[in-house]
Assembly symmetry: C2
């Protein structure tokens, strides 16, 4: 068992070092980076589709989409105006810092203001691999059920922002918001949370306002090299 | 890279051997085993909650519930009358044959007729680890979206049965059934599929009839040692 633990520690250590290098590149380019994590189908790509056009008068957005197969997500991000790169992981169930590094090499970093990395749809492994982005965003969705914080504590514990998507479905699904929120609060007290629906647009304004102010604050402290 | 491939092959080879041992134990006990796989929140536990009471006049059901943390699922399975065992994987994103072996040791196998193994909520890694059950069942759900067969081909390719859950939400969600079905058909031609709603009960009868006949057919060819 010790051998196995050592190998895992080495992998995570190497990943962390590469994540720091990615972070430095983003900082130098004045590019603010978010890591979107979620279950399959919770709405990562939908939130990108709503975010990119809403910000496009002010900010250029790059999207890096991770998936086991297909370019469906990058195509959707590109269709709404993002500079999109698809990473196909083969069989891997998460992105890591090496994969993001390779994707960053395909982008002109200082021509973008916001980078959204869309991780592989999975509530477990992505939480263990830092990418070098500035904030980790977890997208939960109402149909997944109210017990998810309790069942996937690792990812709820490790994120900076929580987006609760598909609130338009609340009337049709038994979802105890108080039970859900209690679980989140135990794992990640005071976690900044946005409730919204990418389908109806409800709640998107708060998310977009917050994001705009985040990018502006970041730009004040990290000037682009040009 | 060769080294890594060798290690992965060894792990999968060892798992396969243990899966065969699990299968032999089930066969000898006359216990028919299903492996439920799905995204988080697609309805694995809900389908167990509907299945166990419906069958209880005829069959005794054992449930083995895999999760990263908590005993929520095993508690729910036990509450409806299953002989339930929870496996907490720690941080692992899938069940493997060793974990199932340990769970089987906690059950009196020949006192049960149906075993439902509820895998960890994940559309990627569970597909790579055989457990020794007789059939693999994938539970998809309408809110996950119609592109999932294309994005998670491995799991769609490797299952024997597909259950499409939450069909009661079809009026509220843009889900192109034809696009979904086309993806499934490419990956797994002729896959036996049940469309149902654990919430309203619609379509459950077809699932239950099929399952009853599966268990009876199995029992005819595998008699219990007693």
């Amino acid at each position: 068992m010790t051998k196995r633990i050592e190998i895992v520690e080495n992998i995570l250590g190497a990943n962390e070092q590469l994540a720091e290098e990615n972070r430095s590149r983003l900082d130098q380019a004045g590019l603010y980076g978010l890591n979107f994590m979620a279950s399959p189908g919770a709405g990562k790509t939908s939130l990108i589709e709503k975010t990119v056009p809403a910000l496009k008068e002010k900010f250029r957005v790059a999207a890096v989409d991770g998936d086991v197969a297909t370019t469906i997500d990058a195509d959707r991000a590109a269709a709404v105006g993002a500079n999109a790169v698809q990473i196909n992981t083969g069989g891997e169930c998460h992105l890591d810092a090496v994969m993001l590094k390779q994707a960053l090499n395909q982008l002109t970093l200082d021509e973008n203001d916001l980078l959204i990395v869309e991780n592989v749809g999975n509530l477990i492994c992505p939480a263990n691999f830092k990418l070098g982005t500035h904030k980790n965003v977890l997208i939960a969705s109402i149909p997944e059920g109210d017990d998810k914080p309790y069942k996937y504590p690792g990812i709820y514990r490790g994120v900076d922002i929580l987006v609760i998507n598909k609130i338009d479905l609340l009337p049709y699904i038994p979802f105890r918001m108080e039970y859900f929120t209690k679980g989140v609060e135990i794992l990640n007290p005071g976690l900044m949370t946005f409730s919204l629906s990418c389908q109806t647009g409800e709640g998107l304004d708060e998310w977009l306002s917050w994001l705009e102010s985040e990018i502006l604050t970041f730009k004040e402290t990290h000037s682009s090299p040009q």
